[in-house]
Each structure stands twice: as C-alpha cells, then as structure tokens.
Amino acid sequence: MSTIEAAIRSATISVVVENEAGVLARVIGLFAGRGYNIDSLTVAPVDDGRGRSRINIVTSGTPMVIEQIKAQLSRLVPVHRVADLTQDGPHIAREMALVKVIGQGNARAEALRLADAFRARVVDASTESFVFEMTGQTEKLDAFVELMRPLGLAEVSRTGVAAMARGTRLI
C-alpha cells in the first residue's frame, strides 16, 4: 500500500541545536507550518562550552508523521542531533508544575492532605491559598491538577517536559 492508516502515537523528541538567534522560531515554525502537534516544548542552553541548547518536544502523530518530523528537524541547518526517546529505548520524562489552590476550611485541608500524598511541596502559603510545587511525569501532574479542581484550583504553571534516555545511552 502506498499510504498507511496507522494509530497515532506520542513521541518525546530531543533536539540538540546550535544556540543561535532564531533557532527556536525555526523549530516552532516548522511544526506550525507543517501542521504537526506540539503537546509540550521546552528549551534551554545545556552549555558544555560549545554554545548548544536542547529542545525537548512531546508530539503525536502516525509513525509516518513522526518519522517526517524527525527528518524535517534533522535538515534544519543549526540542528546537531535529533533523538526519538520514545522509540530508542527506556527514558525518563519529567516536568514541574506550580499549582495555586485558593480555599478555606475542609477543602483547604483536603488539598494539603492530597498534596502530601502526591509528594507535592508547599512553596507558598497564605491564610487562603497554597502554591504547590510538584515534579513528575506528565500524567501524574495531570492527575494532581484534576484532584485540585474541586478544591479551589485557581492557577497552574507548568514547565513542559525535560527528558533523557535511561542508562549510559546518550543523545
């Protein structure tokens, strides 16, 4: 068959880029221009003295689309390496969230109890509010945010995913 109908899969892709002006715009423009999904995107210099940054992208698509995304990323001039962490083997993916919950009485107590169970840390508190800091997998953060919703969830700020292969494997 020439075309394939295949299931959508999620992929965590790490890209090592030259740390130069416009490189993030190139990557984002590529996704926007070609209609690829961005579920999460993080970028920061990972300076090993060579002026490089690492971009982690969580995306989804058919296997053919994911291959396209990797090929398209690889041909950008300032891109050094592209790795599909999801495909290449076991990996760890973490993100951090700050979650503000406003409330009083029982709801407030319940929020605190759940935060404890989820190992979220209280990083700010007032008589009517908490800000929890939580690090973990995306799904765990999602679950925590959902639990906070009826308890006075007011604001969420998330970092997006940082990811890395397990063991000695390098990107």
Binding site: M1, T3, G22, A25, A71, S74, V79, H80
Partner: protein, 606 residues
C-alpha cells in the same frame, strides 16, 4: 630579507563590511549579481562601483532579480546571487525565494537592513526580514557583528549548494556594511551542524539492485534532483537506462536529464503527463524514483498511486523519503553517486534480469504509446487558426534545424504544460520552469538570467499573455544589457489554465479569467526597444518563428492561438493515474461536459 617575513602577525587588517562582502563573494567565485539599490545597501553599491571583478545586473523589480538568479543557477549549476535593499526590496524578493525553495535552486540573497541599533524600532524601510523569510528559505542569517560577516557569507554559499540546494538570505544591517572588520577566508573545517549525507549506503544499493533485477514491469521515474546533481548524474541515468533497457519517465523539473527523443523515454508523467508514462507508472511492479519527490501533481490520488509496485527512492533529502508515499528501499544520497553505485552493483551482481518479461512489458507500453495521446489536428488552410501545440512543435523543429544551443523558460499555465509536452530536451539544464510554486512571471526574468550566463545561446521564454504581464518591466533590463531574449507568447486571450478548470469543473462559468484590455504586444516590444512580431494565422507562423530566431535584439512574438484549446491528457485532481482524460482527438472529449468522476474531494484539491 624581505621586510614582511620578520613582521610578527600583529593586529588583523580591517576593511569596511561592504568590501568584506564583495571580497567574500569573489572568493566564492561569484561573477554576476542581480540586484536593485536602495538606502540600506548603498555602501554595497559604492563598493560595487569601485571594482570590476563582479558584474551587477540592474533588474526592474526585486522578484525578477531572484528569478533571474534562478535562471542563471539552473542553467549553469552554480549559485545565483541577489542583492536587494531593506523593507520593500526584501519583501518583493519573497516570491522568488519561495519559488527557489520549492524547486531546490541554490540562491544567496543579500538583503539590506536598518542599522543594528534601529532594529525593532519600526525604522524607515525596516522589515523583519529574517522573520518573513524563515519559511521562505533553506536558511537565513542576520549579521550582527562585522567579524561574523565573511564567515556567514562563506557558510551561506555552502548551505545554498549542499545537500538539497535552496535559497539562503543574509540580512545585512547598514552599520555592519560601513563598520571596519577583519576578513576571514573560506574555512576548510566542516560545518558545525549541517553535513548532509551524499554517499549512498552500500547495503541499500544492493537491495535496490536486487529489486531492479527481479523486476518484470519496471520503470525509472526521474526528477529535478538528477539535474541538481550535475551532468554526472544525468550521464549515469542514461547509462543505467541503456544497461537495463527500462522505460524512463520524468517529472516537469527533471526534463532533459534523459534525452527525450530516446525510444526508452516515455515523456513527462503526472497531471498533464503522457498516457504511456502514467499507465506505466500505474501498472509497474518495480519503481526506481531518482531525485523526485512524489509530488501531488505527479501521484494523483495517493491511495491509487502505482498500487502494486515495490519502490526504491533515491534522494539527498531524507525528509523527502516516505513523506507522501511509502517506499521499500530508501537510498539517501547524491543522485549521481547513487546511480553510479547502482550501475556498479548491477554489473557485479550475477543475477540475470528477466528479459522476456521486460520485452512483454515493452509490448504493453507500445500499445499505450500507440494511443498517441499528444496528437492534435492543425489546419493548414490559409488563414487557419494556430493550435498552441503546433506553435511549440514548430518552435522546437525550427530551433533544432538551426542547431543553436537553446534554453527554454516558461511562465505558468497551459503554455507551460504544452512546452513540457512538445518541446523536447536532450540535455540537462536547458529547461527553466517554475514547478513547485507555479509562479506566473517567472519565465522572462529566468530567461534573462540564463542569457547572462550563456550570451551566445538562444534563450526563449514560452509565455502566456497573462503571465508575461507579471514581470514585463524586465523588457527594460533586456534593452539595457542588449540581451536578445525571445518572448514567445501563446496568446489565447485567457488565463487558459484557469479557463480550462472552469470549463471542466465549474460549469463553464468563466469568472474573471478573460484577459481583458490586453496591450498591443508588438507596440509594447517597440516601446521597450525590442522588436515586436505577430502571427494570427497558420500561414504566418513559421515566418514569424524564423524572423524571431534570426533577430539579434530582444523579441516579443505574439502568437495568436486557438482560445478554446485545452491541455490534455489530464488527470483531474484527486483521480488515479489510469483515470486520465484524453483530448477531443480521442473520441468524445470533455469540451462540452464536466470532468466526470471528479469527486467533491477532488474539487477541493488544487
């Protein structure tokens, strides 16, 4: 002892940015720049004024500068260079850049920019050029420090010509052009991150050859990548063709890589490709795609595209492979190197191809060929109306008689497709057309750039009366540089291709596709210091063509052709290759009907 020998390497010598720029261009072997001045690039124009190594061609619109550079690049295999000012100069160039991006043409475009301290302030003639051109180029640069300038220029040339070629923009703030900085020679170091693979993988080559030798109904489908890979690739393609005896078809962009008059050549494939090429593609069992990209104009309906074949795809750009069509053997690499590797592996592989099957396959192909899908009837009666196909056929015959080196460019529309069908190319780099973007207004400036590169050759723009008006101002450039470009207009007084779709798909409602209030092209040529000619009937055609070709000045030949002629064969958008519409010569055509079998989905396609 020589004084300089004992001098310690002291402070590096510096020079103004504009001089650095020209020095770097010279070191890159640049001989011609197509450009248009303005405030932001005045320092460069001043430096150009004071040297002789590089010639500047003053165009009349920045879009034309890029198309001219494309014509230059495509007809020589070298990088075309463009120079435009900031703001409107840069935005005018954008269409040309996208055109070059889509057709993989190596261009370096230098754009002026306001001084670095003004960037972001909405200064006069400021545009976010790197932002605007990011999706319009292969790569772009904003030079913010004088000491980066020379390195960036060298890198831009490397990026433009390496891997899959494309346009590169260098945005040059005015203070960088004026300020002093040291020069940097071309580096021998490999690029930090961009190192496209050119040598094919031996294992994939072996798999490709095994598949080719097992073929019973093979086809070679070649594209613009073979032209981009240089003469060596075209030569290898011909050798592989001869060796294998396989039929060969080509995309619009690939014409000329394989000699069109060779019996193994089936003509162009795709939407307006030949019946035999499309049927062969549809029914083949093994397909070798070299340097083509399974473009939608070629594949038609994807899920009906060559359904029973096993496919090999050679491409320098890994992102072209498995993009639209799944292939069994991907070969990443330069088309020439890959074809040579295939030939070598073919020779070393003891397997004997199935010649009996191949002979049977050719029998089938000859049946398809016998349909003579490109036939048309030209009346010979005095005063008879000229068929556009015939006009091109005669242009081809007469240029061949003359035996001069001939380069053809086109605008976009029916005339472009007829040119692809009836003008036959037997060498690469002789055919300049806007394939991917389909840019009306491409042909005249492209012919101009081609003529600059080949002063003694015959450079002809096969045009439509609508398209030619989109860059007609370049007639003035032709006059200034005494470029004897020939503009051969197939004047059907319609945006013919639009009219054809309206006839076939929109109930013959010719909404805004009539070329109302056309200029008198003969007088127009005259006004631009060229020569105007006109043929209104068949008895005048040959004389006008001969007079045009003999004329040492630029010519516009206004060839008044049949206004109702449609371009066939045609695969309507969204249809399969074996679902072609043939012309009226082949029984009841579609002149009075719509395209039967066109689905709503097909209508939604372009």
């Amino acid at each position: 002892m020589n004084q300089t020998d004992i001098q310690a390497p002291t402070v590096a010598k510096t020079q103004p940015g504009a001089e650095i720029l020209l020095r770097a261009l010279k070191d890159e072997g640049v001989e011609v720049i197509f450009g248009y001045p303005g405030g932001a690039v005045l320092p460069i124009y001043d430096a150009i004024f004071q040297q002789n190594a590089i010639r500047h061609i003053l165009v009349r619109h920045e879009q034309a500068a890029v198309h001219a550079a494309e014509g230059y690049a495509r007809s020589t295999g070298r990088v075309g260079v463009v120079l435009v000012t900031s703001g409107p100069g840069a935005t005018n160039a954008v269409t040309g850049l996208v055109d070059a991006l889509m057709d993989s043409i190596p261009i370096v475009c230098l754009t002026g920019q306001v001084a670095t301290h003004l960037i972001g302030n909405d200064a006069f003639q400021e545009a976010d050029t790197t932002g605007i051109t990011r999706p319009a180029t292969k790569h772009n640069y904003l030079v913010k420090r004088g000491e980066d300038l020379a390195r960036v220029v060298h890198e831009a040339f490397y990026v433009a010509r390496s891997g899959r070629p494309g346009p590169v923009v260098i945005d040059l703030p005015k203070d960088i052009l004026i300020g002093q900085a040291p020069y940097a020679a071309k580096s021998e170091q490999p690029h930090r991150s961009y190192r496209p693979r050119t040598a094919p993988d031996a294992e994939q080559i072996a798999r490709a050859v095994a598949l080719l030798k097992s073929a019973k109904r093979p086809i070679i489908y070649s594209g613009g990548g073979v032209i981009n890979a240089g003469d060596r690739a075209s030569e290898a393609l011909v050798r592989l063709g001869r060796k294998s005896g396989f039929p060969i078809t080509s995309t619009l962009m690939g014409l000329g890589a394989y000699p069109s008059n060779d019996p193994q050549f089936l003509g162009m494939l795709g939407m307006h490709g030949t019946y035999e090429a499309n049927m062969t593609m549809h029914d083949c069992d093994v397909m070798l795609n070299v340097g083509a990209r399974f473009d939608d104009r070629v594949t038609g309906r994807l899920n009906a595209f060559s359904p029973d074949s096993r496919k090999i795809h050679i491409d320098i750009d890994p992102s072209s492979i498995n993009k639209n069509v799944r292939v069994e053997v991907p070969v990443v690499g330069d088309a020439g190197l890959a074809l040579e590797a295939i030939i070598e592996a073919w020779d070393n592989d003891p397997t004997v191809p199935d010649t009996a099957a191949l002979a049977g396959w050719w029998q089938q192909i000859e049946v398809w060929r016998a349909v003579k899908c490109l036939k048309f009837t030209q009346t010979t009666a005095k005063g008879g109306i000229i068929k556009p196909q015939h006009a091109i056929q005669r242009l081809y015959d007469i240029t061949r008689e003359l035996g001069r080196e001939t380069y053809i460019s086109t605008e976009v529309g029916q005339h472009q497709m007829w040119a692809a069908q009836y003008f036959r190319f037997d060498k690469p780099n002789r055919w300049m057309t806007s394939g991917g973007l389909g840019t009306m207004g491409y042909g005249l400036p492209a012919a101009m750039g081609t003529q600059i590169a080949h002063p003694d050759a015959l450079c002809i723009d096969i045009a439509g009366e609508a398209s030619i008006l989109m860059n007609i101002q370049e007639m003035a450039t032709l006059a200034q540089y005494r470029l004897p470009v020939k503009v051969f207009i197939l004047n059907n007084q319609y945006m013919g291709m639009v009219r054809q779709w309206q006839e076939l798909l929109h109930g013959s409602r010719y909404s805004e596709s009539y070329s109302e209030a056309l200029p008198d092209f003969v007088k127009l040529a005259d006004a631009f210091h060229g020569v105007g000619m006109r043929a209104t009937s068949i008895d005048q055609l040959d004389d006008v063509i001969r007079a045009m070709l003999a004329e040492p000045r630029a010519v516009i030949a206004d060839i008044c052709v049949d206004q109702t002629e449609n371009c066939y064969p045609m695969i309507p958008s969204g249809a399969a290759h074996n679902d072609m519409i043939l012309g009226p010569e082949h029984g009841p055509g579609l002149r009075n009907g719509g395209a039967s079998g066109v689905t709503d989905e097909g209508l939604g396609l372009v």
